[in-house]
Amino acid sequence: MSQTYDPTEFMGNADTHSGVTNAKLGVWLFLASEIMLFATLFTSYIVLRMVSTSWPWGWDALNVPLATLNTVILISSSVTIVMAYAKAYDKNKSGFQLWMAATVLLSLGFLVVKAFEYGHEFALGIGPHTSVFYAIYFTMTGLHGIHILGGIAVNGGLLYMSTQKEHWEHPLFLGRVEGAGLYWHFVDIVWIFLFPALYLL
């Protein structure tokens, strides 16, 4: 009865029916559900905007330069996480740590900029209750911000794990970095849709 099997044996094993490891397939399926989540919000945005009598222009209502800065920050972080993956692939520990730390710092930078943006709006007495535009703006960017926080937790966790020999040399480590990278790219892509939809259009 106490016979147990090691699930990690299956997760890292790409010799599966689909040729993809369980973990990677799981991340992709998770992203599929995330796409449905954000697609619903974008659909709500379109519907609310279509029926609304007045809809402010992003340039008037929001801080476009700060958001542009944030776009640059996020896209850079996508590059750095790919570099981190490449270094992990080459078993270059210090290189991995450098690029992963850069990714985490950039994502923290994104949140700091976002905090300034929110802070400015709150100082003007603007909140989610102000209008439907601000409601959808705060909800979508807020939910995206939570996803950024999740990404920081995962990426920071991987950074910490890389300092420990058992984790760094674990056969699944590379797969974990890849999964984190897939997720991080997704978070990035959501912002790339959010930015024009809320700020520019």
Partner: protein, 576 residues
Amino acid sequence: MSHDDHGHGHHELTFWEKYVFSVDHKVIGLQYLITSFIFLLVGFGLMGLMRWQLAFPGTPIPFFGHLFPADLAPNGVMSGEFYNALGAMHGTIMVFLGVVPLAVGAYGNYVLPLQIGAPDMAFPRMNMMSYWTYLPGGILMLSSFLMPGGAAQSGWTSYPPLSIINPGQTMWLLSMVILITSSLLGAINFLVTTINMRAPGMSLWRMPVFCWAQFVTSVLLLLAFPPLEAASVLQLMDRVFHTSFYMPKDLVILGKAYMGSGGGQPLLWQHLFWFLAHPEVYVLVLPPMGIVAEIIANNTRKPLHGYKTLVFSMIAIGVMSFMVWAHHMFISGMSPALGNFFLVTTMIISVPSVAILTCLIFSLKGGSIRYNLPMAYALAFLPLFGIGGLTGLPLGLTVTDIYLHDTYYVIGHFHFVVVTGSIIALMGGTYYWFPKWYGRKMNDTLGWIHFWGTTTSMTGIFLPMLFMGLAGASRRLYDPTAQLHNLPVQGWNVVSTISAYCLGVFQLPFIYNFFNSMWRGEKTPENPWQATTLEWACPSPPPHGNFEKTPVVYRGPYEYSVPGRKTDFWMQTDKN
């Protein structure tokens, strides 16, 4: 791929690891089974209180009436708010905490890995997490009765603006977000397991129909639940941060202007909700169909009629179910042109549903049928689910739906599908797989009492609803005698209520039988039903890791009565 060729991990599991925080899909499946049966009982109890009010409005509830606080039930007579809360919670508990966890969490978890020959789920710890988010979510949902203002009162559909004004809704939304997370974890796990962890030789077209049903169901859960999660977040924002996603402009509530900005769309919620909730109906129905297919193939001792037709129909249902949602909204004020589109898609989706039922009925033809308990449930499923399906057609046509939509006919139709359809099949599944779970058989006599009592009283509850609905009796009403047009059919309400209480009584033999047979039931061999599928090719109950050796699959799932063989079944694992 085999689990037994490495030596580590052989420590004795503690009680907590074995029964509470277990990562074994079989233990988690049974945890789901018992929990969801309890939730079904709770949801049934709430309905029992409502049924008293519907049959005998204004009279004190017997026995329990005085146990409730005076603001809910003054002098033991149910108040309108309490009735609304019970209605909302009955629907929510039955759908999200009862039938779905039972159909997917319990049967899927236990049977799917066994049927495809996997040692466990792809992500065992995630599987455990799925259960341990489901249970707190369910407890949170129930605890909302104790909150100030009581539980949610806006129906399980939670239509705004009512849901945003009514008390109790915040807890409902929070628990829904938790429950959705749980089912997402489960869905990802099921899909990865089915795609990646099949035993050698188990090609997709050798999977039993039950596995296909779980697979399609998991796709629906994966893609349909996130929209409700997003919609719930928006409603939560409306309630907590006073946004106006669903609140129209210049709304006046009880003489006071609504505090939010307005400018939102109440209809948006309905669209988002039904975009989930229609696929959800198929989540409720597909796994039971899979169970019925397993039982029928096993007890007719012949291959299923149209295995591929069944599978393709399930896939077609899965795809189409994302395109029919607005047939719940024909009278909501949405554009009639849109209504025509959804009328057409609704008629189209009925084709694969009928194909499935037809295949199952044709499977009986020419079989040497064994009339055992599981088969009785499967045979009861066919006509009763058929009534449920056919009564749905007038609701899918805009013209007839306008008359029927706000009547008891809708409730009768839905319950015929989900109760006499899904729940009957799920109960049959319990009798069918019980020998696998515990190595023992459930008692036959008690089982037959349960079977006849349950099917008869279920029909007694829901058939009157169809009659009442056709006569025009309005649904959702706290006091059905308050309106003149409901009075001529009030007698049917009494019939329905008495049948409901009978249904409750007839569950007692089932509960006793279940727990008694766990320890004292007649012992059964590994394959008591002489079935062909893989779950019967391992010990009962299967040990951790399921199969002693990774099984190899040589043929399709339903090789019964193959000419020239000594036995009338040919297991998927038997080479010769």
